[in-house]
């Protein structure tokens, strides 16, 4: 009964476009989108080059990125905190407890996801694509583009997975953002706070938004795939 009451109140918040709820969602989306974008810029080319190239120690590099997938958010939080705190190497930037600090931490969190999944995506591409492009007269660069194009949906899925990871993480946001209302309060940190206070209405509302965002992103991915394979 209590749960249903809270759920009903949460829907009222959503339908009434509650200012606080919208602001929290806005902060979450802002931080997550920027960190995902930056991780893509770093991770996709890195993963692609590792995946397509042959070099000594390739397996060791892949193992390194696979290990990084298990990096706990609190460890990243501690690491970035030590860099950005007043006595840290980058303390002069004054980024601690800001959205910038959260973005830095989240980039460290999801770049290995994008790199590792991109390597796997490229590795799964049938070698006949490379050979076919070569026999049709493609240069090494054009062959790489063919492979990238064939791997695009798996890479997009990696990016979606990375976005899902950042928008739902809490450790980095809490340690580096500080959960400051109106500035660094995200959906997950707000939900944790509301839970501590025993207030479930806003927490449930945010939970529904979180799920809806995930749903929309995945529906979009499916739509793009469907459109391309018309």
């Amino acid at each position: 009964m209590f749960f249903l009451d809270s759920l009903g109140a949460a829907f009222q918040l959503l339908l009434g476009f509650d200012r606080e709820l919208l602001h929290i969602v806005g902060v979450s989306l802002n931080v997550s989108l920027w960190s995902t974008l930056a991780a893509c810029v770093i991770g996709v080319p890195t993963g692609f080059l590792i995946g397509i190239a042959s070099f000594r120690g390739k397996q060791a590099v892949i193992t390194f990125f696979n290990t990084m997938l298990a990096l706990p958010t609190v460890v990243i939080g501690l690491l970035v905190y030590s860099l950005l705190s007043r006595r840290g190497v980058l303390g002069h930037l004054g980024w601690l407890y800001s959205q910038k600090a959260m973005i830095v931490g989240q980039i460290i969190l999801i770049t290995p996801i994008i790199v590792a999944f991109t390597i796997a995506a490229v590795g799964r591409i049938d070698d006949r694509y490379r050979r076919t492009a070569l026999t049709l007269g493609a240069s090494s660069w054009q062959v790489a583009l063919v492979v990238l194009r064939e791997a695009r949906f798996s890479i997009m899925a990696a990016i979606v997975a990375a976005f899902g990871r950042v928008i739902s993480e809490i450790g980095i946001s809490m340690m580096l953002g500080g959960n400051a209302r109106g500035f660094t309060r995200t959906m997950t940190t707000a939900m944790a706070l509301e839970y501590d206070k025993g207030e479930f209405v806003l927490a449930l509302g945010l939970g529904i938004v979180l799920l809806a965002i995930s749903l929309v992103v995945n529906v979009l991915l499916g739509y793009v795939q469907g459109r391309t394979q018309r």
Partner: protein, 334 residues
């Protein structure tokens, strides 16, 4: 001048020599069938001819110039050669974009590209599928589009790796017609790798036969040396004790004959006798069946799958070979 010339080319994997060609020449504008059992080195040779794989030893000359196995040198050469693999892949784009890919990367303008793509698709009879998403095509259509994709670039050489091995009869007929048309035009050198010997003979006047990686000089299968004689007005060539072949229009004496495997009919035999022997091999090749009968010398026979099923034959059965004189070619003096 030869188009390709291979000198002392060797390829070895894990100490096993898979290709050993002291000399092989491929002439311009000619059609070759590349034949041989599985593991004979056919695909390895195609890899070298398509400039995808460098030989471990030896020299390759293309149009008289030595091939330097460096990427910057190979790209212009690859643009003159087209390889269609046994199981080709389609890029995840439309059929038109697939066929036009080679032209696009050569910087051919859109209008000219579309014209050439339409011509290539017309040649393989798939112009109506130009806007279809290529990975959705059937196996036979994929093979035909792959041939169109190769031909759109007007290559000097077309290398076909068993193009009809896994397609239905309708697609096989179209592919054979395309190859025959190209051969008749004489502008493109064709190397057709196939297990289907009747197809090879019908389409390609020249044969490259490999066995254990080595070139075997065999103009046709079922090629035998024998002695011609005439009995009761019918010429007969004696190949072995129980292997005698009716031959028309050949003078008595030493001859070399060749027998079309499709011109032989096999009947179940009750007892050993003339042209009788055990059925030694049966192999499915697409929609035909290749058989080998031991008549003291192996005789290769080929028949449609449906006809083979009707015979009910199995390996080890005693069979009698009925050879029509029309299926026999005779070359005196060998």
């Amino acid at each position: 001048m030869s188009l390709f010339e291979l000198r002392d080319v060797r390829m070895a994997f894990d100490g096993r020599v898979v290709l050993d060609l002291p000399r092989l020449e491929i002439g311009q504008g000619l059609a070759y069938s590349l034949q041989g059992p599985n593991g004979a080195g056919k695909s390895t040779l195609l890899g070298i001819l398509s400039f995808l794989n460098a030989p471990h030893q030896g020299d390759v000359f293309f149009l008289g110039e030595p091939v330097v196995w460096k990427e910057s040198f190979l790209r212009p050469l690859r643009r003159q050669v087209a390889l269609v693999e046994q199981h080709p892949v389609m890029f995840s784009r439309s059929v038109r974009e697939n066929v036009g890919y080679g032209l696009a990367i050569r910087g051919v303008p859109r209008a000219e590209r579309d014209k050439k793509v339409d011509e290539a698709l017309e040649l393989v009879g798939l112009a109506h599928l130009a806007e279809v998403y290529a990975p959705r095509l059937s196996g036979g259509e994929t093979q035909r589009v792959a041939i169109a994709r190769a031909l759109a670039n007007s290559p000097k050489v077309l290398l076909l790796d068993e193009p009809t091995a896994s397609v239905d009869t309708q697609n096989r007929v179209v592919i054979e017609q395309v190859v025959a048309e190209l051969r008749d035009r004489g502008e493109t050198t064709i190397v057709l790798c196939t297990h289907n010997r009747s197809q090879a003979w019908a389409l390609c006047p020249h044969v490259i036969f490999l066995e254990d990686g080595k070139l075997v000089h065999r103009s046709r299968a079922n090629s035998y040396a024998g002695i011609m004689s005439v009995a009761d007005g019918q010429g007969v060539c004696r190949i072995a004790e129980n292997f005698r072949v009716p031959v028309n229009g050949c003078e008595p004496g030493r001859v070399r004959i060749s027998i079309d495997p499709e011109g032989v009919r096999l009947l179940r035999a009750d007892a050993p006798g003339l042209n009788s022997g055990p059925l030694a091999k049966i192999r499915l090749e697409g929609d035909t069946v290749a058989l080998s009968v031991n008549l003291g010398r192996p005789l290769d026979v080929q028949m449609p799958l449906a006809d083979f099923r009707a015979t009910g034959l199995a390996v080890g059965d005693l069979v009698r070979a009925e050879i029509r004189p029309e299926a026999v070619d005779c070359h005196p003096g060998n």
